[in-house]
Symmetry: C2
Subunit: 342 residues, 2 copies
DNA sequence: ATGAAAGCGCTAACAA
DNA sequence: TTGTTAGCGCTTTCAT
């Protein structure tokens, strides 16, 4: 590949036109005669000319670059969203910077730089309510939230229908005859946690099962927190025949704790997870779970954000993405009424 | 946050100096008198002025942006490398674009655009030899390879000492008394696969164990390929008391197949993996594995690349990153000499 | 130590 | 339809 780079003027000179005509050609402006256009296009082809993106950004005042800020880049859920956003962005000629912001200070700093130095046209924020990071979003800057509904009317969002998803998970367990359903929640401040729990309550209520405080545990999305929840429940001799873990990692932790206590899954206790992470079907037993389409969430976020950038006047719309129940072998019919042997 | 953006001339006007003096201040050039400097700095502070990155790129001909091209963004291994690279880049004032390139055509297209349009100063390529993508790297463009040694003298690389890592894994099994060690390889064209297998052979050789063709299986890094390898081995009645899977996902697949065949791990067969992925300690049983420090690999890659960009004359150095054996419960002493009961 | 002028490669506004 | 002239916001070079 050549390393010398030509400019719009090189092309103009060789084609015998003004640089502005070249600009018109590369920008697909109509007012160029077919003959001139062809001449210019031939030279572009010959030189393998590509317009300098920086110069364009400079002249247009737009960078065609987005940034996606996520608590980290490695969680499968975040990584998939980013991948989806990147694909969609690229499809329409945008680029995506992604940064991990473990805390709100890092977040504030990155946003301040990215926006202040005019590096980007828009911002995708994954899990904006994980802490107070949302307070550092500059007003009127094109932004979209992912994972949680936005509490600011000006900011659109893309999220699951978490309430429905939680409801579906619990309905599935109830349908199998379970009535004492332990719920391991995610980080309690996340709106999605609250919504999933709301779904849990609605499902119980619909079946006239009165919810018990003692069956509600607070996790933090980690496998360890799932493990500890079950450990605690077991120590306290809590009765339950099913577990609804609000993500797969906590479900794994929960299954681990149950196994350590010699409790059979699903014969004695059913477990349902949430996310359908890549190895979910390889767990022991393969995990029944609620599948989210993270890639689609990312694509939708990028699409909506770019629309907002290019049509600032129109009202952008927020989206809820559908979920799907994937039944594997970690859930089963409650064994005929008798209590779990421990 | 303000949405109006000031320029270097606004600052100059308010400070009563020329815009060039402001430029000197923000670029920390020495030749500014302390008084003037202070005056300018105060105005900068007041206006919350930040230099426009695009204009700087334009004037300097450098974007301070890197791109990391990876087969995908979601594999834990890749995502961790990207996260490390992003952290290091940010630390020194660079930004990182990351793109997933599933095939060489996509790869070629992205590289062509990114480089041709002068969007980036350097390129980090994860798994360059996964297909023919490496052929599309422009000559003399600052580039670093991650995951595999480069076959081009001009391109530096960061990789594991895979041969040593493979050797360590197999030595561990041999130390536990195993002599019939099944090896599930990664994608055979990857140099890291070949090196890990070389390490496998060296360990066997050192103990005068003659390697058997029939114990070598070809996987493709997926859990399914690990599963199938064991399934095939079992069908063919292959004798083995230990498995070395060249990544954790294949190890999981292998364990799954063993479990389905009612073979106890580690009582009847030991399994060692590679990578130490996040849930490795939550598998059943918790997986013994070789841990890689992916974040460090990413950081090292970014560091080396940036050095090359800023000091094009100096020779950059390639790096091998150390690995570590993490012993959990999937490996154990071979049960006293007798053959596995099946 | 400071300022003036030119230019990075493009687009936008106007003129022809 | 085409060309000319100005910028975009900086850095760089050259004067002062």
């Amino acid at each position: 590949m050549k390393n010398t780079h030509y400019t719009i003027r090189d092309v103009a000179r060789l084609a015998g036109v003004s640089h502005q005509t070249v600009s018109r050609v590369i920008n697909k402006v109509e007012k160029v005669s077919p003959g001139t256009r062809e001449k210019v296009e031939r030279v572009i082809e010959e030189l393998n000319y590509q317009p300098n993106a920086i110069a364009r950004s400079m002249a247009r005042g737009k960078t065609r670059t987005l940034a996606c800020l996520s608590p980290n880049l490695t969680d499968f859920t975040f990584a998939s969203i980013i991948e989806g956003a990147e694909q969609k962005a690229r499809e329409v000629g945008y680029y995506l910077l992604s940064s991990s912001c473990s805390d709100e200070d890092t977040f504030a700093e990155i946003v301040h730089e990215l926006v202040g130095r005019r590096r980007i046209d828009g911002l995708i924020i994954i899990n904006p309510y994980i802490d107070y990071r949302y307070e550092f979003i500059p007003a009127h800057f094109p932004t979209i939230f992912v994972g949680d509904e936005s509490k600011d009317d000006e900011i659109a969002w893309v999220a699951l229908d978490d309430e429905l998803a939680g409801y579906m998970a619990v309905k599935h367990l109830i349908g199998l005859g379970h009535r004492e359903i332990l719920c391991i929640q995610g980080t309690i401040s996340d709106a999605c946690t609250q919504n999933r729990t709301l779904g849990y309550f609605r499902a119980l209520q619909e079946e006239q099962i009165s919810p018990k405080e003692t069956l509600l545990f607070c996790g933090d999305w980690t496998a360890t927190s799932g493990y500890k929840s079950i450990e605690t429940a077991l120590e306290k001799d809590q009765k339950f025949s099913a577990v609804f873990a609000q993500n797969d990692r906590m479900a794994i932790g929960a299954m681990h704790a149950l196994r350590n206590a010699n409790i059979q899954i699903p014969q004695q206790v059913s477990v349902i997870g949430f996310d359908d992470m890549p190895l979910a079907s390889y767990f022991d037993p393969p995990l029944t779970t609620i599948r989210q389409d993270f890639n689609q969430i990312g694509q939708e976020a990028a699409r909506t954000l770019i629309h907002k950038i290019e049509h600032p006047d129109e009202n952008e719309t927020s989206h809820r993405i559908a979920v799907e129940l994937v039944e594997r072998q970690s859930t089963a019919l409650k064994s005929g009424g008798e209590h779990i042997e421990r």
